[in-house]
Symmetry: C2
């Protein structure tokens, strides 16, 4: 078993593990940890396990995936396989979360892994997997327990992000970009995160003070009014899960975000970055909305995959999230296209198709699914973020009486 | 991620994967496969996944363990951690088997991994794990579904088995020993296994024809009468699981075995090989039995671990299996001590402490746990095989009326 590629700085990787455990998931003494990761991320997983046990973990259980095994299915499996999913594993995870286990996911897979495979099979496998994962996913999106996603510079991902560099140099560059965005290139990453979390809290508090009826986005190819759900709450950075643990679900994170109203989105919008969706790159997305519903959708590349995604279920054609990110965010300034939502969504304002976060409501934890739906929260098996922000984006907050307040001007906070 | 060490013959490794899928688990079209493995065994797991999908697998789900993560727990975890286990994962596996998923386990870990750790913590962690694994384990020992264990030549294991060889040479030697014992060094391994299974069936049929009341073992340091359970059935090689699939649970396998009577074992017995138990080597075991119960137990090394094992529960001090293996078996003839039960138990006659196999009864599949207990079948959370056979072992079959029939003479079948 290969240990860490020597181009990855061991000290910073260890700090990334520390941030994931202490800031990301904020693991509590006695809490179990369920950790999903590609097997290539083993060096980071090992360091996370050490930090988690040092923090008092009960038992740390890694669940590894492997790209070669995923590909073996597409190469050899019979047709019926593509409607199957390991429901037993996901039910087990739901049981773990119900027992207050924390959840960590390490991403770093090859974003183009399934690019050459039959899109019909990819879509069926994704649909079967999403449906089976639903009970566990619900506990995550409803923020029942503390969780975190962090990433590892896998070689295939690095090659995609830095195509002009040889393998070890591409991995080194991606590792450094991950370390910088995750604030582990500082002496005291935990303190750096405390300061950053305070800044995000200031922004979300200002938006919650206004409690706008809608946001109006304008920019090249975009004139979109996104109604906000009744009683919506803006969130960002650290926030308390329902088990009381304050965690940072995403490392890195630069966004403040809330739940749009599923029936009050109107106008047209153009993506400002490609969307990498489960092995397919979808480029130049354009959509038109009427009364919350997507009435037109196209893309210059990957359109077939996009249209399949929109047919996942009823809620796939409506929005579940709207998020604000300054164009000057560190990830945006790096100029790197990561082909990874965790990074790219933190480089630009974005919206998400599908499931809303019920935590993005005042007293969201006490709401039933019916309450959430009545307030305008969307429901779907999918949640797919795509980027609409740029340095030319203006955003107004619109009150119910029509009064407008500048929120963003030329991609930056208006204040 | 390192792919296969170049010292391992790729063609034979692929044949081992084929034997595991076709002969071992005999995966049926549409059946899911749950596969546990150390992460170092990834090259074999990938080939097994390919063969499993080609055989019509629904979905293949690997569950990897990692020795460094196991050690991180002993190095960093707080005391309370050692009473925890990932019950959610094992409950999920039980759910998978209840849904007719097949099970495969790849072994090849460092047998001495935990040798330096606190035996008290090792024992507590093992006990917590065994208890949590019980629901899934029961479905395996009761043979509800087809399953298989196969092994991979891990570097630490190879270093233990061939301490005088440098790392790559030791792995090459262990790989070759595994390939030979698993009959994949032949042109048609599947045909070789069919012939071997027929030979084992002949032996178990002869024993079932006699249906002895007891077996009487004599040899240096051993004079032991092992009563056989009422309505016991000898098994060996391929046999049908309760789901109707004929599989070979162990690759390799040389034994025929049945269920002893938990209350009718008397005399004394000396181990003929060391027992490698979860990281501890237990040497020169000697035990005395009265009315089925172990009344004395000692070992020249690892005795503390052995005594802890015997205190696992009520049934840990009684036998759950007796098995016959000729001293001339290929694994015995190789002269290699594998420090691995899967191999070493196939080099010598052995007995097992703890849980019996309920399949080793006539119509065992229809018996309730109470029926099994009434017939003399033992019950425990442990099942630990240890080796008592040698070239000097004589065995008589003893009928209820005292009539004796030679079974083994000088370690070989008496016929
Ligand atoms: Zn977002
Ligand atoms: Zn999102
Ligand atoms: Zn045995
Ligand atoms: Zn056994």
């Amino acid at each position: 078993m290969n240990d860490m590629p020597p181009v990855i700085d061991a000290t910073k990787l260890d700090k990334l593990a520390q941030v994931a455990v202490k800031v990301g998931v904020n693991l509590q003494p006695g809490q179990d940890l369920v950790l999903t990761a590609p097997v290539t991320a083993l060096p980071l997983v090992r360091r996370i396990a050490a930090h988690a046990y040092a923090a008092g973990a009960g038992v740390v259980t890694p669940v590894f995936s492997d790209e070669e095994i995923t590909l073996a299915r597409y190469r050899h499996a019979q047709d019926a396989s593509f409607d199957r999913a390991p429901g037993w594993l996901y039910n087990g995870m739901a049981e773990a979360y119900a027992g207050n286990a924390a959840r960590m996911a390490i991403v770093g897979d090859n974003p183009m892994l399934l690019a050459e495979q039959d899109p019909e099979k990819v879509s069926r496998a994704n649909r079967a997997n999403s449906a089976a994962y639903q009970p566990a996913m619900k506990m995550i999106t409803n923020f029942k327990i503390n969780w975190n996603i962090v990433s590892y510079p896998g070689a295939a991902w690095a090659a995609q992000v830095f195509p002009d560099d040889a393998a070890p140099e591409a991995v080194r560059k991606l590792a450094d970009a991950i370390f910088a965005a995750s604030r582990v290139d500082t002496d005291d990453p935990v303190a750096a995160w405390a300061a950053h979390n305070a800044e995000l809290r200031t922004r979300s508090s200002w938006l919650n003070g206004h409690r706008f009826h809608a946001l109006h986005f304008t920019g090249p190819g975009t004139d979109l009014t996104v109604g906000l759900a009744d009683g919506h709450e803006w969130m960002g950075g650290a926030s308390p899960a329902e088990n009381g643990v304050i965690c940072n679900p995403n490392i890195p994170t630069e966004e403040v975000f809330t739940t749009p109203h599923a029936a009050r989105v109107d106008g047209y919008v153009r993506a400002t970055k490609p969307l990498s969706h489960q092995g397919t790159l979808i480029e130049n997305i354009e959509m038109r909305f009427k009364d919350g519903l997507i009435t037109e959708a196209r893309a210059t590349k990957g359109e077939a995959v996009l249209l399949k995604v929109l047919d996942s279920d009823e809620g796939a054609r409506r929005l579940g999230e709207v998020a604000l990110v300054p164009h000057a965010s560190p990830i945006s300034k790096s100029g790197v296209l990561f082909y990874n939502t965790l990074y790219d969504e933190n480089a630009a304002c974005h919206i998400a198709l599908g499931q809303c976060y019920s935590k993005c409501f005042v007293d969201g934890g006490k709401m039933t699914p019916e309450d959430v739906a009545a307030a305008g929260g969307n429901k779907s098996v999918i949640h797919i973020d795509w980027m609409i922000g740029s340095g030319e984006m203006d955003i107004d907050g619109v009150h119910a009486d029509g009064r407008r307040v500048p929120v963003f001007r030329k991609g930056a906070w208006a204040d």
